[in-house]
Symmetry: C2
Subunit: 237 residues, 2 copies
Amino acid sequence: MIIDCHGHYTTEPRPHHAFREAQIAFAGGGGARPSYPEISDDEIRETIGANQLRLLRERGADMTIFSPRASGMGHHIGDESISRTWSRHANDLIARIVAMFPDNFVGVCQLPQSQGVPISGSIEELRRCVGELGMVGCNLNPDPSGGYWTAPPLTDRSWYPFYEAMVELDVPAMIHVSGSCNACFHTTGAHYLNADTTAFMQLLQGDLFKDFPDLRFIIPHGGGAVPYHWGRFAGWR
Amino acid sequence: MIIDCHGHYTTEPRPHHAFREAQIAFAGGGGARPSYPEISDDEIRETIGANQLRLLRERGADMTIFSPRASGMGHHIGDESISRTWSRHANDLIARIVAMFPDNFVGVCQLPQSQGVPISGSIEELRRCVGELGMVGCNLNPDPSGGYWTAPPLTDRSWYPFYEAMVELDVPAMIHVSGSCNACFHTTGAHYLNADTTAFMQLLQGDLFKDFPDLRFIIPHGGGAVPYHWGRFAGWR
């Protein structure tokens, strides 16, 4: 069985986007708090069938581990309650896809991270997604600031409560930033790759797996610059 | 002739370091403004002969384009006058090496960049290094904040006065960050590589070479993650 370990729902139905746009406006003080719209099974079937499922079949793979669009997580937007609401809807949408195509998709959740708040606020949504929605992992954002890198490294003890929950639930995290709001970093052309390299080096500098021998991370996008510069890391003392 | 286009003086004589340490203390409000110490030709000959020159010969190359240690530039430390003094001493030291080993080293300068000040403050030192010290280029830091990326992208018009001077003097710049003061980024294991990837993508997003057809940049460290992710960039619209 061939499993694509890293797919995002980048073809979300239009009402899902409209909700987020209204929510961002609300977070910025414009307009009312929006309600999440009705999205039909047909809309989901259509966007998946014409895109991710078609490509999966054309490429001869069997299954995709599937999560919400990473650049859409937007942990730098609004406060923690905005992130919580948005994450629940984004994850529920993934759960619907998995329920409709159980042979082809397995779910991974986005977390309600937010700038400057403890990661423990994301534990409840992880538990809900794994326990109630049957998801098998999460995307963990090492930079909720969206390109200013104001959170401590992943080896910092402030992340530990979340790692404890991951180990208890026996699920891995993919290290994945969201969109960049720093004009220096193009989201997919720089920020994603930089984050992969950065996370790898943070793990090399720290001793995290001594404290959490069962903790599992996936670093995506081929590891950013890491494999290409292996000698640089191999020589690191 | 085999030319190594990117070497740094990472074995500076001890008095050079001692000066910088005293200068950093002074910039932080501790102690008096230090004077630059005497450094003998023997100290320079020794540190170069046992290291860069030895390695150049062992590896069968002929010449190194040589500049001050990149991580030592420290543009986030102190103000512009601190950077100016430090850059002059660091560049003068490179010029002495080139004068002592003219067959093996050609000089490239560090710039007196500083957080939040116009890049035009670096033009004078570029002119001095090219015009008086015979240097053939400079190291341009796209992130004088040392890991917080608060300066605008390299395609921003605020950088243009410096590019005009580069074109006038007909010298290239190597895009090279300095040390990271952001705990997320290890200097050589993440920040350097991220900066290479970041700068490449900034240039791809902009249209800088339309405004400066004769401008020349070198992106070091094999381009960071870029060659390894060529499809990502090739597919960029």
